[in-house]
């Protein structure tokens, strides 16, 4: 492990050379921008639109290259390529919007159509460029899967400036975007132009896609937009915090991923960032406190246990046989019954109490017409949580003196 850990720590602490440091910082900034701006797209349930937008950048890259070469310039000028990719991405985005609005196509179908057509056109353009005599085309494939060989200072500046602008835009637009994502009808009634807010949301995502293309490539940029918000959702119940947590997670994934890829010669940056992001997602999915899979499973088990405990005690009270093995195990674990299903002293006491509570509930339903109170009967909520001691005393007065049950055996 020493062989990998050494360079990894060096890359983490930005000691692995100028280029590795540049990539790590640039990827972190891209992660922050992508996580925050992707959040509202995810909350609007339109995450996949970003996939169409990303694929629609490719023909723009090819067209920009051809135009710049045709004008006698350097076909690889970064800002020119990014402007081209933004232009076709915007056309693709408007195409999706138009199809959903004006035709009977649903959004998923529109996304599929735009994505494949634009991507196909982009691949054709790139193939044509490959066969051109000019030798200056090298590097355009980076837009597909991301660059493996570091980052130019100019690229880092584009990411830093663009990313900062995207985060500022999220801060400014967070209220209309939240409103439109949660309740578009209410937003429209308040005078917000829902279509414009949607387009602004998409434009933001498009901007982040374009600045991130060179680092992670158009196929994987979608992961940087979607995985962090989905991960953040496990940790908070408030939309603004989802955005900021997603930014932090995206930044962390970018930084860690870039450091990892710098510490081994052949590891590509973009895919490693996505894998780190996915690892954070998997951890959250499993272990998040309220929404995680493990927590949900434990809650379900605890609930199931309470149901079995109650049914077992009721069976003891009524001196009925207990049929389910799990019920007996629960009673036994609580010290309420023996392995053969015979109640212990403590079991008899609890069974008497639970049977009495059932009678109390019956009385409660007779005298309380208020459904709000009696509606809280689920067989598991203790009666003491719903009614006062005085009320319970009144129920007891109507029932008569306590009767021991289940004690004979």
């Amino acid at each position: 492990m020493e062989t990998l850990a050494g360079p990894f720590v060096a890359a983490l602490t930005l000691q692995a050379g100028y280029n590795a440091a540049l990539v790590a910082v640039g990827a972190a900034m891209l992660g922050i921008a992508a996580g925050t701006s992707g959040t509202f797209l995810y909350l609007r349930k339109r995450a996949l639109v970003s996939d169409a937008v990303a694929h629609a950048t490719l023909p723009g890259v090819g067209l920009a290259f051809l135009i710049m070469v045709g004008l006698g310039g350097d076909g690889r000028a970064l800002l020119g390529l990014l402007a081209g990719s933004a232009a076709t991405a915007w056309v693709g985005l408007l195409a999706v919007e138009w199809m959903v609005r004006r035709t009977r196509l649903s959004e998923d179908a529109a996304i599929g159509a735009v994505l494949s057509v634009f991507f196909g056109f982009g691949v054709v353009l790139l193939t044509v460029i490959q066969t051109m005599s000019s030798g200056r085309q090298a590097g355009l494939e980076d837009f597909l899967l991301g660059a493996t060989a570091g980052m130019l200072f100019s690229e880092a500046v584009v990411i830093a400036v663009g990313g900062a602008l995207a985060v500022v835009a999220v801060m400014i637009l967070r209220r209309p975007m939240t409103l439109v994502a949660f309740d578009p009808g209410f937003a429209a009634a308040q005078g917000y132009d829902v279509r414009r807010v949607d387009l602004a949301m998409m434009a933001l995502v498009m901007a982040v896609t374009v600045i991130g293309l060179k680092v992670v490539g158009l196929i994987l940029i979608v992961a940087m937009l979607i995985i962090p918000p989905v991960t953040a959702r496990f940790w908070t119940e408030r939309s603004e915090r989802v955005a900021w947590v997603a930014g932090a997670l995206g930044g962390a994934a970018g930084y860690l991923g870039a450091a990892l890829s710098a510490s081994a010669p052949a590891l590509p940056t973009g895919p490693i960032i996505v894998l780190v992001s996915a690892a954070l997602f998997a951890l959250s999915l499993l272990f998040a406190p309220a929404r995680g899979v493990v927590a949900a499973w434990l809650r379900h088990r605890a609930f199931q246990r309470r149901v079995h405990l109650r049914q077992g005690l009721l069976a003891l009270a009524r001196q009925e046989p207990i049929l389910e093995r799990y019920t007996i195990r629960v009673l036994e674990a609580e010290g309420l019954a023996r392995a053969d299903g015979v109640a212990t002293e403590a079991g008899i006491a609890r069974a008497t109490k639970i049977a009495r509570d059932e009678r109390r509930w019956d009385v409660a339903r007779e005298i309380h017409q208020d459904v709000a109170l009696t509606g809280r009967y689920d067989g598991l909520t203790p009666i003491e949580d719903v009614f006062t001691t005085d009320e319970i005393a009144e129920f007891d007065r109507r029932i008569g003196a306590p009767v021991a049950v289940g004690g004979g055996s």
Binding site: F182, D183, S239
Partner: protein
Amino acid sequence: MTPTSLTLATSDGEAQRDHAQIAPMAIRGLTVAYAEKPAVFSVDATFAPAALTAIVGPNGAGKSTLLKAALGVVPRVAGDVSVFGQPLERARHRIAYVPQRASVDWDFPTTARDVVLMGLYPKLGLVGRLTGQHQAEAMASLDRVGMADFADRQIGQLSGGQQQRIFLARALAQGADLYLLDEPFAGVDAATERAIVSVLKALKGEGKAVVAVHHDLATVPDYFDRVLMMNVRAMAEGTVAQAFTAEALATTYGGRLEATHIDQLGLARA
């Protein structure tokens, strides 16, 4: 703060004058169509100040669509809407709209308090800071619907009735003069229904106009002062005593309402 409160005072003065003279909402010839099928056809309606108005009609009668089109939420083919005598855009801030509860995803990451604060977003603008004053307004609105104890719950953890009350609290936070509610009693428990009715009656007492799409014909005379009966077209409009008649019900619902059901409502035949 001074200039703001000055403007507020002036607009309050206008509001009082309006209540005496100008209808909170007047709809003329409103038509909405999905594809070429009219959902609302050439409806005229006037919602009165200091009154509770019910919009009733069978399923698919365009009741919700009427509200949405009046607010510009769905596009209208034709028709004109004025709000307190002004064009909609000028008076939008005086309207509070409560959409159907089922129209949103309640798993959305937001708390009851945050939803109510959404009612203040137009006032806050894009970057206006959320102050303690705003928080207090939101809490007061939650308190009015009996939901103050649930302020920090994620909205998905609330019952249907509680969710409906949160929506009403959001409208209250807007401090509007006209309240448009889309089926506020759909699928709520009896306690919530009572709570909502008492809030709506209190609003009426403050001189506000309240309009609600309503389904339960039996409670119309108890809850409402006025009624608009529609089935794509407007069928009858007026006070409950004038317009909520057996004949009007029969025309509005066509064959869809049993004669015996109408009899059970105990309405006087004109």
